[in-house]
Every structure is written in structure tokens, then in C-alpha cells.
Subunit: 286 residues, 2 copies
């Protein structure tokens, strides 16, 4: 029998770790999906003076104290990113690369709200714009495409497209480009906006150039929470929750910056606690 | 010109102090109305392990850390109790004994929800039951009354009633009775329930005795928040707030245990922060 977690927590910032320790105390099986730096905005904060009990802390030191606390309680942090989450028979299946894990509940604590890479991404999604080149690749066989990569993990998708497309343009949004197929043409400008009326016709660059393509891919950027979990209700870029941190989906909770302002540590820790305790209760009932 | 505070915060537990430091950082004029022990339930907690960043703390030590942080930020705590709060021209007047202070906003952080001393207090209020004997005394001239005192401060009210009533019974809910008028008869049993259908007809004691009286007073007990601030909306003993910690009254916020479960430190600190920041914003606009 495959392992079923009680809580899968997305994000290892203040909200995620607070949810994790609170559910762990309730003897729940918890796993946190984290990133290298658990909360980039907190990590950069020069001084945090309004988290009660720990005055005048550097953001980084506060984050360290949070992680130490979680480690002390035996909280597991996996350096993985959930790609999609689907519900099946009241359980949630979380796709991580080639693995799938199963959980009774999900706590979304992914931090600052999602910012699209390009304006109008939502409108053009499925109309020439995609987030997975290897998935949609065959549609663009023999055509011209442009890929925007947030990290070097996007390069293998560019190389794959070079095999089947007529022309592949690539804009790296990171510093060191690794090993690209010689047929891939790197553009050394930033993306500005999508050209097209009903479908993608090209991309305008910051330097004014216009590149005509039929397919456009944004790879490795932030994932909008409602794309991660289909059906999740969002308003003005924030996940809608009630005072129990419940979203519109049963067993799915959200806490911290992703639920809206104020973007503050204590608010996130408090919401994480409520989400963690309620998710633990929900998991017990199932 | 009399001083106008930006925030008057009722309660010096985790929610109240978190509100205070957050509004102080926003350069607001803040005063906290506290009690000797700021959070009796936290003070008694053997160990708190789920306030992120401060693992395995004795409740008392956590409370001390909170108070130190607040003192460091220059937060003023007054050992006074608000008796009633009334709104006038968009400002709140807070009655403290013989003083009145004025504030643009109120943050209620009074902790664990109000428990009435007697069942059906709400029903009998104004129908023979009252909370101020000296105020209602004249109605009971020449009649029999019973006073329940939570502290020796109630004794002067009993003595006052002895001057004007036919018979005055007194039940002290504290240990050392001080100086009572010889005409006051102390009952050495605990109160059980109110006797009466439409109006108070008497009090049933835990030992089974029934004392016939027309007037009944509960003195020095906890004050229900909606009696403290008339018009405040309450549901199942909790103050109704939205996710911004706003109550139904403009400029009145609530945070912590008084807004409902879970009764936990991080939840209180988080809500206190949101209430403090929003009250500060509200005060700035006025």
C-alpha cells in the first residue's frame, strides 16, 4: 500500500512551517515542498521588528530560527516543486517530476502572489501560449516558436523543440546559459508583450524588435495557484479563504501572503497555524 | 486640547501586544489597557511548542518575552479596566473609573470569551437583574435584593443597598470578605440559577436553598464585549470579525481568543498584527 500523507504543504516560509509544526504536534504525517530559500522577501528583510517575542531580527536570522524550530520537531522538507495537483476519490495526487505523492489535505503557502511573466498570459493560454513545450511540442512541428526560460531547466525543452520545429528562439531570464542545441537562437533582450489578437502571432521585445512565432512558451516561472489546483477560487491574484483558512475546495487550505495583505510574518505564522490545525482535523475525519 | 489616542487596545495578551507593537511602528499613539497577568491561560501553560521561532517555551516565559518586546518599543500599558465605551462624533470615549479617555479606534483583545456568572443572565437583564447596584438601587428601595460579588470591590455596593433596601443578601465569590454593613446577610453557598418566569423572583443556591428577592446584581464579573461596546455583533460568545479583523462597528477591531477558536498564541499574534495595522490605517484617515 502506497503511503498517504495527511498534509502536503506547498512552501516552507513562515506560513508553511507554522502549518507543519502545528500538524506535526497533532501526530499527522506531514511533508513540506520547499525551495532553496524558503521566503525570498523575508530572507532579504534587513530588520523585522514586529514579530512578537523576537524583536529586531534580521529577516535571514528569523527564517533560520523558523527552520530550526521545524527541524527540531522533525518536519520533513523536500526540495521539490508540485507541478499539478488533482483530486481523486477525495484524495489529492501531487505530481512532482516523475513522482506522484498522495495526501488527504493540501496547505498552499506559496508566498507572494503569482505574477505572470507576460501581460495577457491568461488570455492567450491555449491560444498559442503554453507552459510545457514537450507536452504541446507536436502541435508546432515545422513551425516557428519562442521559449522564455526562467532557469536552465528550460534548456532541454528548447533542445527538444529544435528537433521538430522550423525555428526556435530562446530568451533566458537567468544568467548562465548551459548547453543549447546550435539550432536554437538566443535573443538577448527581455520579453515585453504578446503580439496577436485571437491567437499568438509573435512576441515584442523590450528593445522594440518583433519576433513572429506561432507558439510561445513560458517555462519554469511561477505557477498560478488555480493552474496548480484546477477549480481553486482566486480573486485579484489572491486565494480566497475564510477565517478557518479553508479555500473553496474541500481539504485544501491556504495561508500567508498568497491569501492577501498585509504581507507580514506574524499574519503568515498565525494563518499557517490555523490552516495546519484545521487540515489535521480534516485528515483525522477521513 | 485633550489628548486623542489613535488606538486604545483592551487586553495585554499576545493579540493586544502584537496590535500595539505594529501600530507603534506606524507612529501611532497607542495605549494598552492591561491587567496584572496579561493572559491567564498562557501564563499557566506548561509548555508552548507551536509558536514558530520560539520552541519549547514555558507559557510564562513566552509572555515575558512578549512584554519585553512591547516595552522595548515603548508601548504603554495602563492597569485599568474599561467600563463602557461609547461612540461620539466618530470618536470613542472609554470610561475608566472616574477618567475618560478618547480614541480614534478600539482593538478588543480581551482573551477567552466572556462566561456569564449565571445561566439566563441575558434574558433577565433589566428584568430584575443588573450589573450596577448603585445605579439601579433606588428601584429596589424597601425591597429584598441579592448581590453576587466577584471581588471585595462589590462590598461598598452591598453597604449602599443596606441603607435603602429591606433585606440585602450577599454572596462573595472571593475569599476574604472585608467590611460589610451588619445589615447585609452573607450566604455561604454558591449561586446556581435564577428563579422567575418573566422577572427575577429569586435565586437558587447550589445547596438547594431558594432565596426570594426582587433584585439581583452580579458585580465585578467579566463584561460581555457587547455590553462594553453597545451594538457590537457577537455570535456564540465570539466577536464577529472579517479577515481584516474589522467588527461591525467602524474603527472597532478584535483579535485573539475573543474572536473564536483555535485558542492559540500564533493565531492571536497574527490577528493582533492585522488588527493593529488596520486600526493604524483607519486612524490615519480620520
Amino acid at each position: 500500500m502506497e503511503k498517504i500523507y495527511d498534509l502536503v504543504i506547498l512552501g516552507c516560509g513562515p506560513a508553511g512551517l507554522s502549518a507543519a509544526i502545528n500538524a506535526t504536534i497533532r501526530n499527522k504525517e506531514v511533508v513540506v515542498m520547499g525551495t532553496e530559500i524558503c521566503s525570498p522577501p523575508l530572507h532579504k528583510a534587513q530588520v523585522v521588528d514586529n514579530y512578537l517575542g523576537l524583536p529586531a531580527m534580521k529577516g535571514k536570522d528569523l527564517l533560520d530560527a523558523f527552520q530550526e524550530h521545524a527541524e527540531k520537531m522533525g518536519v520533513k522538507i523536500m526540495a521539490q516543486k508540485a507541478e499539478t495537483i488533482t483530486e481523486m476519490d477525495g484524495l489529492y495526487l501531487i505530481l512532482l517530476g516523475e513522482d506522484v505523492i498522495t495526501s488527504r489535505t493540501i496547505v498552499i503557502a506559496t508566498g507572494v502572489p503569482y505574477k505572470p511573466t507576460l501581460p495577457q498570459e491568461d488570455f492567450f493560454l491555449g491560444k498559442g501560449l503554453g507552459y510545457c513545450a514537450t507536452c504541446d511540442g507536436p502541435i508546432y512541428r515545422g513551425k516557428d516558436v519562442l521559449l522564455i526560460g526562467h532557469s536552465d531547466e528550460a534548456e532541454h525543452e528548447a533542445n527538444f523543440m529544435a528537433e521538430i520545429c522550423n525555428k526556435v528562439y530562446y530568451i533566458p531570464l537567468y544568467k548562465k546559459v548551459g548547453s543549447l542545441d546550435s539550432r536554437v537562437q538566443i535573443l538577448d533582450s527581455r520579453p515585453d508583450s504578446i503580439i496577436g489578437t485571437d491567437f499568438v502571432e509573435g512576441l515584442r521585445l523590450k528593445d522594440g524588435r518583433e519576433i513572429a512565432v506561432e507558439g510561445l512558451f513560458v517555462l519554469g516561472g511561477e505557477t498560478a495557484p488555480d493552474r496548480l489546483i484546477p477549480g481553486l477560487k482566486i480573486e485579484k491574484n489572491h486565494i480566497i479563504v475564510n477565517r478557518q483558512q479553508e479555500t473553496n475546495l474541500p481539504g485544501v487550505y491556504a495561508a500567508g501572503d498568497c491569501t492577501g495583505p498585509p504581507y507580514q510574518v506574524a499574519k503568515s505564522v498565525g494563518e499557517g497555524q490555523v490552516a495546519g490545525l484545521n487540515a489535521a482535523k480534516y485528515a483525522s475525519k477521513r
